[in-house]
């Protein structure tokens, strides 16, 4: 198809102006104010004094807070990794299924994706609850004599996080595998490559764009996540998300909260940078021309 000829303009068209104005006024300026706040001093009654200081950043890099940041990074990494390990076979099954099965599975992935995440977290809380179905079944069949307390455990937080973010991983993986030319697998097999080698040397390198997109889609929101651990883990663990929220809702130290959130953006950017760097050096694609972005 020919490239459509697009008219060149000297200035942005009228159509673009409302959205441009909106993003300027409700996105860029507010983000600028977060920076300004992070460099200001806390006022006497929870307000802010525009008195330039780096103190908030100094405080934010204190050992206590760095440990909290580390817990968030660990949780987000575990979530992204689990979603990848579970999501890849899922996407593979979807991409290799017949058209009818494929669209049915796609709908089944999208339904939880669109279900309110508070509702989903609650459903897991109910399932694992002391009077929940797992315990009731186990008790009724005499498997256990006392209800097991799953609630407020790492297991329920893990299940909550993984099920919440799994669709974000599966959908990009599915898109990548859908485009994959499966005859390459046949070729590798004919040439005598063992199964694990085909996976590592052909399938994964060729679907890397999907893996990267999925990982970013999971890791970034998971890093700021605190509602799921809060609801399912019983607010035991302090994470970046509740630490920042507390500064705005409870202690009302907005400058400090702003500095923490700037650091959070830094952590997100740095983690993704490291991740992209690692994935760029490992397994260079067999044939880059067949891999679309």
């Amino acid at each position: 198809m020919l490239e459509p000829v697009e008219p060149s303009l000297r200035r942005p068209p009228l159509l673009a102006l409302p959205a441009m104005g909106w993003f300027m006024w409700f996105l860029l300026i507010p983000l600028g104010f977060v920076v300004v706040y992070s460099l200001s001093t806390k006022g006497l009654y929870g307000g802010v004094v525009y008195h330039f200081t780096f103190e908030n950043y100094q405080r934010a890099t204190d050992w206590i807070y760095l440990r909290i940041f580390w817990s968030s990074v660990k949780l987000a990494t575990l979530t992204a990794f689990s979603c990848l390990v579970i999501g890849y076979p899922m996407a593979y099954v979807m991409a290799t299924a017949s058209l009818r099965v494929r669209s049915a599975l796609l709908v089944l992935v999208v339904i939880p994706f669109w279900t309110n995440f508070v509702v989903r977290a609650y459903a897991i809380k109910l399932l694992f609850g002391e009077a929940g179905p797992i315990n009731e079944f186990a008790l009724a069949f005499g498997l256990i004599h006392e209800p097991i307390v799953f609630a407020n455990s790492d297991l329920s937080v893990w299940v909550g996080m993984v099920t919440n973010y799994l669709p974000f991983m599966v959908l990009p993986l599915y898109v990548a595998l859908e485009k994959f030319d499966f005859s390459l697998l046949e070729a590798a097999k004919d040439l005598g490559a063992p199964g694990w080698k085909i996976l590592l040397k052909v399938l994964i390198p060729m679907t890397k764009p999907g893996i990267i997109t999925g990982t970013i889609f999971v890791f970034t929101p998971a890093l700021g996540e605190f509602v799921i651990p809060d609801l399912l883990g019983g607010a035991k663990t302090m994470l970046m998300g509740n630490l920042i929220t507390d500064q705005f809702v409870k202690t009302r130290d907005w400058p400090f909260g702003s500095a923490l959130s700037m650091l959070m953006i830094l952590v997100v950017t740095a983690s993704l940078g490291v991740y992209l760097k690692i994935s760029a050096t490992e397994n260079a694609p067999v044939d880059a021309t067949t891999v679309e972005d």
């Binding site: 290799t96 508070v118 179905p133 499966f182």
Partner: protein, 268 residues
Amino acid sequence: MESMEKIRPRSPLIAKLMTAIAFLMLYVPLFALVIYSFLGPSAGPGSPQAWTLEWYRRILVNGEVLDAFNMSIYVGIWSTLVSTLLGTAAALAIERFRFPGRQLFDMITHVPLIMPEIVLGLALLIWFVVLRITLGPFSMILAHTTFSVSYVIITVKSRLQGFDDSLEEAAHDLGASPWQTFWKVTLPLIWPGVLSGALMAFTLSFDDFLITFFTAGVGSDTLPLKIYSMIKFGVSPEINALSTLMLGATLILVVFFFRPSKGAPTHA
């Protein structure tokens, strides 16, 4: 593209097994939720529980829940209207014209998608306080519009990418004014994209928790905020019923969304 149907190998058993486990993890909690929402109170240990609609009745007469529902609908409709208008116009501008700053603008429209939600939430909170905008329905509409516009732009853009320019040229050659061309040719062609963008905007608004949490203020809970504060008190049959209703609404939306699959993009 059936004509290009490629060789598709059978998936290994272990992959199928993993898929089955994953779907169980996704759906067992939801099924338990639905079943429990219809279960009456236990008369005593060991005695069977009767089916009941009592919890639904209680939810439907709960004034606070109804208020929260109305708030969600109100904020959802307004933010959808504004973001669909702004987003469609912006998508047309980005796809149809070359202008200075086009790429930068395109990049900025992606910022709300990749930024941690919590940062956008608190940035808007700070900004509303600076502007002295009272937190409530109005501030929520502004906040929801900000993230919804990005999704509308992406959806409409992907519709425009498969667009045949010659139709507009033909309209022009036949003497149609630019305005007529837009209403009679362009808009009908991109309409599915606009519609799915709007639907996406509404769903996102209706579902949003974190940004709403920061910009709602006191006494204007949306449904997700209301459910959250109810859950904080623990598990209860009323929440089971309310959550099942939310789940039902989602199912209706998914069915509605997957019906007009005439090339309409389903998700970003």
